[in-house]
Symmetry: C2
Subunit: 462 residues, 2 copies
């Protein structure tokens, strides 16, 4: 068979085999691999064993690799092309409580019809068992049709994504040669909407600081000292207020160094999506974007850097009135980063910004939390183009190149430790209720997701 003949047969196989694919996913979903609760450690091991055996059955030399926590399923299969890929996913799932809010038991998967669409209902149906099985089923179809994979594939399926992935980075660092491939593929993100595929091409970085402002050496009576004593809540409020100008831009000197405008064609594509602020914010009770003036809501949450106060506390916070001037007040302040913004430079700038605003007698103490730069897949990456073309073939629509406002730490690890870009392609939908009761995955996401990966693997193998 020529390459041109293979793909249609693989897709045909996927369609024909769908019921069996769903049955295999169900078997996987029945394993209660809740990673954060030690009571489910055996189930996590069982899920790893199950997945490893399944991958072996389609030609991977996988094994269950021990870590200080839950094991990692890893191994490779040979393939035809010279290019190689690493696929990352996770077999662990979120806890299920509150159990009484589930319509059917979380580990008894079933097909239901919701709003006229068939969905797979179970904990992990989407995140990430259903998603990672789209990739596995695509591999299985190639194996069934051609007896082999279209390109060499290495698997890395961890069991601690839902509880911090604390053993993953050491594992990657110990096995650099094994996992350094041409590109990484991850199926743990979402579509633009139910009919529009997406590739997540950027992830914002994060710089998180905690600052405590100290004034008097004790809490003071505001009647006796009010007027003369420095008030840490006032000083902290001033600092937080000063962090943005009237146009919603962050005022830290040098903050926008490394923040580039989007390429015109990408910007045009994003604008063409026509996402309204109401659509984006309506679900959480808001309507009007609160960010940088002159930027669309999509830019504000994905391609632009931000600053947010994530927490603040000081003085009396119980019921009623207490006339106290607090000795100290503190806040947690974080910055979402894009482009090549340098987290440590911004940390330094933030601390200087605070110090410049301290009146006499007043001190500031800092706790430095996370600092990670943004991830940006180059817009001219050939792998990205091949993937977008493959997705467009399957869905009949251009794949959105979305930026994600949040961070996925493993993508940063792949870049930093393995020097490897990551293609984030997933088929989740906003209403999949991941991490909540009644998690589901649309049957179309599962079916067309599998077909999508078949197309992507074929395209990357060219």
């Amino acid at each position: 068979m020529s390459a041109n003949e293979v793909l249609p047969k693989v897709l045909e196989h996927i369609d024909r085999d769908l019921d069996n694919s769903v049955e295999r996913l169900f078997a996987f979903l029945r394993i209660a691999s809740v990673s954060t609760d030690p009571a489910f450690a055996k189930d996590c091991k069982a899920a790893a064993d199950h997945l490893s055996a399944d991958l072996k059955s389609i030609g991977f030399d996988t094994s269950v690799r021990e870590t200080p926590g839950h094991p990692i399923v890893a191994g490779s299969a040979k393939g035809e092309a010279g290019k190689s890929v690493l696929f990352y996913g996770h077999y662990d799932v979120q806890p299920v409580d509150p159990l009484n809010l589930w319509d059917t038991p979380p580990f008894e998967p079933s097909i239901k019809t919701v709003d006229g669409r068939k969905v797979i209902a179970a904990r992990g149906a989407c995140d990430d068992k259903g998603q990672l099985m789209t990739f596995v089923e695509a591999c299985r179809a190639f194996k069934a049709v051609t007896g082999k994979l279209p390109l060499p594939i290495t698997m890395m399926i961890e069991g601690e994504e839902e509880c911090g992935s604390s053993n993953l980075l050491p594992f990657i660092e110990k096995n650099v040669a094994e996992f350094r491939k041409d590109v990484a593929l991850v199926c743990d993100t979402g579509m633009w909407d139910a009919t529009t595929p997406a590739v997540t091409t950027s992830l914002r970085g994060l710089l998180y600081e905690e600052v405590t402002i100290r004034c008097a050496d004790r809490d003071l009576h505001s009647g006796l000292f009010g007027g003369a004593a420095a008030n840490p809540i006032r000083i902290l409020s001033r600092i937080i207020a000063d962090l943005h100008d009237a146009d919603g831009r962050v005022t830290l000197p040098g903050f926008y160094d490394g923040v580039a405008e989007l390429p015109a064609d990408i910007k045009a594509e994003l604008d063409a999506l026509g996402l309204t602020a109401e659509q984006f914010l309506g679900g959480v009770g808001l309507k009007v974007p609160a960010g940088e003036k002159g930027r669309s809501v999509l830019e504000q949450v994905s391609t632009r850097p931000t600053c947010d106060a994530n927490g603040i506390i000081g003085g009396y916070t119980g019921e009623g009135a207490k006339t106290v001037i607090a000795a100290e007040a503190s806040a947690k302040i974080s910055f979402r980063l894009v482009g090549t913004q340098d987290p440590e430079k911004i940390r330094t700038a933030f601390r200087a910004f605070v110090h410049e605003r301290l009146p006499a007698d007043v001190t500031a103490e800092f706790i430095g939390h996370a600092g990670s730069p943004a991830i940006q897949l180059p817009f001219d990456s050939p792998s990205l183009k091949a993937t977008r073309d493959a997705l467009a073939e399957e869905w009949g629509k251009t794949a959105v190149t979305a930026g994600s406002g949040g961070s996925i730490p493993v993508v940063g690890d792949f870049k930093r430790v393995l020097g490897m870009d990551t293609l984030l392609v997933g088929f989740g939908l906003d209403d999949d209720r991941v991490h909540s009761p009644n998690e589901k995955y649309n049957l179309s996401s599962f079916h067309k997701g599998t077909r999508s990966w078949a197309r992507i693997l074929a395209a990357l193998a060219e």
Copy 2:
């Protein structure tokens, strides 16, 4: 005896009778009249009975008047002059814990020598048993020397000052005719320093508001929504920051309506005291006054109005980092008032100020706490002049006319319900440790305090 002959004899009697006066105070101090703890209800009753009997013995028709809480000792004695006075004090005391920090048991009073000065050590030695007994002992001396009091005196000694005085106002309102006198006298404040007497002529008022800023209808992930979602901590911080200008003045429109400058002579007297910021703030770890520019620290804490944030909370305040945008944040904001500032006008102005600063989608909810105007004894009051002259005679120094930054609610009640000004004269010192372990009252405060009241009563009777 002419009036001119009486006072020297009364003072002489006070000096001669000092040991007995101290013994009588000790008997009162031995009663553990802790008002806030129901376990001591019997002791409170015992203290009221003890005091009422003592007052009866010097000619008052006192009785122990029941309230829903601890009783009030009240009654009158006739006197020579046409002018009449009401004396207010309280027989209840603060709890004593932590008991292990007391050098001697709190209800076993004794005379000790501390830093070369004799002090009376016990719970209540100053606040308020020792202070109110200076007035009682002055009355007793008049009675002993002349067989009568120099002017009609009505007593009102409550037992719930340390736990909120919740039954006092209804008692006053029910007995207006009985307690409406020419002027009220209170002995529950302090001296300027150990050798300089003071009359507290103003008490700042208070307006206390709680505001909650609400944005989204749930907490949001700052990665996914950061940039587009309104952040209540930012909005609240901006409001708090906006409440002061760069000169430390409050920016609420109309805030300074009713705030007058001090009379030049009073201002000159205050300036002559030479209180430095270091003296006032040094004890709490501060050096530089943080209030209105161009005002002395004494003005800032007593004769000028202020605004303070007393508490703030929002978002994640536990350990570590959480990337949340809170749905709401709240703060407690209070204003100390002087002159004729109207608390309710300021409440309205504050709420309008907040509303003007709310972006789209954002709401504010308020809880109105205390609102009470400032109290100002007219500087040209004849009673004030008589009292200051009497104090100057006793101490050999001009009595400071101090403003107190805090409020004493009963003084407001006397003004509002009884239409009566109050002269606040007390002999407490900053190091008396009221409300703390090892409370004390200098023997000189007790002795010269008694002599001071004798002089004041004589002067008011003229």
